[in-house]
Symmetry: C2
Subunit: 318 residues, 2 copies
């Protein structure tokens, strides 16, 4: 019997191979109240990610790097408990939380290290599950930090249910976490067996990657792929095929990875967005992926969805 | 030669068959400045959607229903030109804009009709292209309206580049339009050839539809489908297959439609979210879709992505 779910994907789910996708917490964000959060914080085994000005704090002691704090380890770092985020619970019942610190970065002792999300995954500082929990934490910490005041009336907003809601103390307006969909696409010229890659002005020398852009209000995924590719490269896209998605916590995006069918060949590059844009053979694409040099500086690193789209095309895993 | 884009989809792109997907404007939102917007407003042929407290104003004169105003037709309705949204340009060069009115709804003359997005598409009051432009307009008008003040400092925020950015006059913080990804899924029990449908407590009698929920920060699409289905119905989902997406301007979502592979059969319904949830045969699903009665009241209407997922499964168009 053929299955609806056969065919294309007899491999591992491509989304599961992207960085930040390994979060396995039971979130239960729709079935919580303030007491759930207070109870979680008091539970034995509760572990907390600590953020300083939006970046993660790691304890590092020689070789060991540890991002998880107990409540007591945080006392001297001025945690802002009113802004506590409850991520969820691990399968063994341990709560996972996140809290912003009020201590300035320059006052932190030398056995603390401050890192951003890009460094965390490029330098492979944490395993996949922790990295996934970090992604959820970083997105929520940032969203709560950006919404201290009500957009409708300017009143103070308070965090509710572990950072999954904010409510205005003046007008009662409620808001919920935001996630920004971004389309990222490998556009394929099937007749010539080539793919379209570009480089931004700030890329390391030799680095090329997929084109990408924010999905706009009132747009389907497929139309966003077509619009962005036409705007950035002057290439018209026909059919679009979804491949994989990735949480991208810088600050709170959802990367939606697609293949697009090129309908023309002549590139008209948007010179503001791209420093170069050209067609690559499979061999040239593989060369970009396997370029020597620090992981993720001269090529999209393994966990990046751009890497996934490029490699799965090169290896015909579609 | 086989194509990457063959196989699954030798039909029309399913996303193109959903309501609100027909927007064909050239948006060029990344290449505008304040003068682009001022110039568009002065251009001959500029047409404007007018919103009153978040709903659309239609001119209706007997049989004809018209949502497009010239600048001069709006003068008496107190348009808030500082909050003008530039949607883009039509292929013939005509600008399309949207503006909120300061006039209260009860002061509108009787030849104006105030409608919400659901009514517009259920009652088929506009063609697909206009409905798509409306979706973009409604999403942007609502987002701008919800962000008059800065979330970081509480200062006043001003609209920029036709509603695609807001900037704080006090701290210079900038924000960009938001689109909320929602997963909506038809979960299939392949061994028994059944699909999983549920009904919310506010559904019309007999109405059943796909399960759905907001994608959370730090989650892939596939994991969101699995989490929501498990939370709402107690059904574990294995593989997930993307089918179609739809802009949903109530207020500014992106519906991401997927099929999910059921791994168990016994339903444990979330009683807060669902009044009923059960397995349907193809025949029963078709019966839900074709139930007599007002379009969209007793069944998901044609343009709804739930309708698309259900019908394409019933008709084996996958």
């Amino acid at each position: 019997m053929t299955s609806l779910f056969d065919g294309a994907l007899n491999h591992l789910e491509p989304s599961s191979l992207t960085a930040f996708a390994g979060n396995d917490l039971i979130r239960d964000s729709e079935h919580r109240d303030e007491e759930t959060v207070a109870a979680a914080l008091k539970t034995e085994g509760a572990h907390i990610f600590a953020f300083c000005e939006g970046n993660l704090i790691l304890k590092h002691d020689g070789q060991i790097v540890d991002p998880l704090f107990s409540r007591y380890e945080l006392v001297d770092l001025l945690p802002d408990w009113d802004e506590t985020v409850l991520l969820g619970h691990r399968r063994n019942g341990e709560p996972r939380l996140a809290v912003p610190l009020k201590v300035p970065e320059e006052s932190l002792a030398s056995h603390f290290k401050v890192v951003d999300g890009r460094t965390l995954y490029r330098d492979e500082l944490m395993d996949e599950a922790l990295l996934g929990e970090f992604a959820q934490a970083a997105s929520l910490i940032r969203w709560n930090r950006d919404n201290r005041f009500c957009g409708r009336c300017g009143g103070a907003m308070e965090l509710r249910i572990g950072g999954y809601k904010r409510a205005c103390v003046s007008c009662d307006h409620m808001i919920f976490p935001r996630t920004d969909p971004v389309v990222i696409m490998l556009v394929i010229d099937e007749a010539r067996d080539l793919c379209l890659l570009g480089r931004g002005p700030h890329f390391a020398p030799g680095m090329y990657s997929c084109l990408a852009g924010f999905l706009e209000p009132g747009e389907t995924m497929e139309n966003a792929v077509r619009r962005e590719t036409l705007e950035e490269a002057g290439i018209k896209v026909g059919r679009v095929r979804y491949h994989a998605s990735q949480p991208w916590p810088m600050p709170h995006s959802l990367m939606i990875g697609c293949y697009g069918q090129a309908l023309n060949t002549e590139i008209h590059r948007d010179e503001k967005e791209l420093e170069d844009c050209r067609w690559f053979t499979r061999e040239e694409t593989l060369e970009v992926l396997e370029r020597p040099g620090t992981n993720g500086k001269a090529s999209p690193p393994k966990g990046a969805i751009a890497h996934r789209l490029m490699r799965d095309w090169v290896e015909r895993k579609l």
